[in-house]
Amino acid sequence: MDHDGPDHDDTGVRDPSVRNPSPAAVPDTALPIETMWEVFGRRRINDALEHVGQIHAGDRDTALLLARETHFRHEEAVDYAVVRSDQLHRLEDPSLLERRVDIDYRLQRGYSGFRDKRARAREAAARRGADDLQTRPAPGRDVASEAS
């Protein structure tokens, strides 16, 4: 499909690979934005809603029906929702998400070298003569790596 041309094929289904077309790029033959709906599904009950695609429908009930028939025929979801596309507001300047300063302290990789750090703390304990402390090897676990 030609991405520079109309972003609808003859089935009326919008090509999801076309991102954020400007209204001027949508030809007269396109269905109006007011009838386009964004579809969100939840694969399992524990999951957050995730965007799965779009459909065209004139009203809410039809949108819910068509979303089910278009996107959820094969047990892809246990729950879903639709939102009218003109109610969705995108970030206009993606560069706002780029890193401008070092933010490693907000990321797992900002905290590293624990094996060495722990070894140094053990050596310090030995220097303090802490060998009389209980050092029973009870089962320990690495919580951080489990949680992430």
Partner: protein, 316 residues
């Protein structure tokens, strides 16, 4: 508490069906029908959790300006921001059970809101920051990870995200703790002294050893594990890590039994916990609440500016 755990023949058909659903691992959405007891207990539990995130940020916030390096300062500020964010996420969940967020916040600021015992204590030194970051957050990770299987689905989804962020806080805390443990004698003494003070509050944090069948939170599917199960898991994970670097714990009877795989420990004074969370606010809490009251008063105009006039909702 007995009234909160009804016997089978006390239940009407609809409630019995609901109880069977959650006991079979079923989940509940905000829009589903739910028994009043379920709604009320969940709201109380989740509101207290949200309050704890907010009040838990305050003891650490006190140390942002006193952190020993720029890196620690940024790391601590980022963590405090995360915790306040958790509070907001969890208030949203509590709100879905019928109490407006503004009311919960007003209750908290006025001193009527309940929150976890560990956030009623003062912080005396950088060693406290290590203890909060590693041991208290560790206790929170244990209980919150159990909540990723709670029956109230909106809470469960938020907990998944919260637990992922908490694992970063765990690293932040471990980093501070190991730095102090490898430092000078004074630094180690500061850490050991803080660990001694935090030991009892952390044992308290998990609550009394209540049998599974006597715990309304378990009956109503709010938390899947008993207080003692969570406390034992925390001990199994954290005590060896402390002993490993020469930190001792202020309980000479503390011992792990390899036969039963159970930690034996001296029972803390539970009256102390009851007095702390139900009595007059501690000095630290009174100070922090006074600070929150001032912030709420001074910053109200920001809320008005940011929220502005509500945008018109277009009919679908």
């Amino acid at each position: 508490m007995a009234g909160l755990i009804p016997s089978r023949d006390q239940l009407d058909a609809r409630t019995a069906e609901f109880v069977d659903h959650i006991h079979a691992g079923g989940k509940v959405e905000a829009t589903d029908w739910m028994p009043e007891t379920y709604r009320r207990l969940n709201l109380k539990f989740i509101e207290m959790h949200a309050n704890s995130e907010i009040m838990g940020a305050l003891p650490e916030r006190e140390w942002i300006s006193r952190a020993p390096s720029l890196r620690r300062k940024r790391s601590l500020a980022a963590k405090v921001q995360d915790e306040v964010g958790h509070g907001q996420l969890i208030y949203r969940v509590a709100e879905s059970l019928g109490k407006p967020r503004s009311q919960m916040y007003a209750d908290l600021v006025a001193g009527r809101g309940r929150f976890h015992n560990v956030f009623h204590y003062p912080t005396h030194s950088w060693g406290d920051v290590a203890c909060i970051g590693f041991l208290v957050d560790g206790a929170a990770i244990v209980t919150q990870r159990a909540l990723t299987d709670t029956s109230y689905a909106p809470y469960l989804r938020v907990m998944r995200r919260v637990v992922a962020e908490e694992s970063l806080h765990y690293r932040h805390g471990e980093d501070i703790l190991l730095a102090l443990a490898s430092g000078t004698d004074e630094q180690f003494a500061m850490l050991q002294e803080a660990v001694n003070r935090w030991w009892t509050p952390i044992l308290h944090f998990f609550g009394t050893d209540t049998a599974r069948e006597d715990d309304p939170s378990i009956f109503w599917g709010i938390k899947p594990r008993t207080n003692e199960e969570s406390r034992q898991e925390w001990m199994t994970t954290y005590i060896p890590k402390l002993w490993d670097v020469g930190i001792s714990l202020p309980d000479p009877t503390l011992d792990w039994d390899p036969e039963t795989k159970v930690w034996n420990y001296a029972e803390p004074d539970w009256q102390e916990l009851a007095d702390l969370v139900k009595g007059d606010p501690s000095e630290a809490t009174a100070t922090r609440l006074a600070w929150k009251q001032r912030l709420a008063r001074d910053n109200d105009w920001i809320r008005e500016v940011v929220l502005g006039e509500p945008a018109p909702v277009l009919a679908a």
